[in-house]
Symmetry: C2
Subunit: 142 residues, 2 copies
């Protein structure tokens, strides 16, 4: 796995689930397929569970499945569930800036970034998991 791969892992897994919703998958299966570690999978999918996109069950014959129809899960849901923000404030200074130019800047730039973040989420909410699922999918034929 590479950097910032949480979104990739989440989408990949959701897409597979969309193609075969009844199958329950263990984190080991998923990790195997995605080339990563079960713990990493549980970390990422745990966020999706908190957001109500997935459900998990412990114990024998437990595992992960979609918590609602794939068509009702949008890219925005996934994006927000992972607490990822492409457009971050980029200013984590300790306390208020000493420089008046910097202070004014932060306010103005934050406004623009906020706008952009909103339009990004809006756009993401227009695409569902089924929309990004390949129409010709060899896994769906199983």
């Amino acid at each position: 796995m590479k950097r910032n791969s949480r979104l990739s892992l989440a989408l990949h897994t959701l897409s597979h689930m969309a193609g075969d919703p009844d199958r329950v998958r263990t984190s080991a299966d998923i990790a195997d397929h995605a080339g990563t570690n079960p713990v990493v999978v549980r970390r990422v999918l745990g966020k999706l569970r908190q957001a109500g996109l997935l459900s998990s069950e412990k114990g024998h014959s437990g595992g992960w499945r979609l918590a609602k129809p794939a068509k009702d899960i949008t890219l925005a849901d996934v994006y927000l569930a992972l607490d990822e923000r492409f457009v971050s404030g980029a200013s984590d200074d300790a306390g208020p800036p000493q420089c008046s130019v910097e202070a004014g800047l932060q306010t103005r730039v934050a406004e623009v970034l906020q706008e952009i973040e909103e339009s990004l989420v809006k756009r993401l909410s227009e695409t569902s998991i089924t929309d990004v699922h390949p129409s010709s999918c060899s896994y769906c034929d199983n």
Copy 2:
């Protein structure tokens, strides 16, 4: 300085320059004011120079200044000059994916991200450096 501070540093510096365009600033001056290192400043401003936003001169009484009027420099210019991509493909896998679902996903998701990237740049291009410069700026009174 904190993480992903290149954009902050660039905007901060450009904003100062917009307020007093004739003044030539050394990377040491700028670093001092921004609380960072001259080499870091040259790294970041070097990108802006490559993009034609700034010019630099070597030797005695050298330094940095705007290469064109501040009102003609937009946030998009800065964003693009720094090679920053808020919306990154998030897929740096080695070679083509083995999994057909993954392959289809990458294509579709890339399309959406591309759209978003374009609208982001479009929005950024509507705001110039002078727009984010504070109207009441103590430095402009010098």
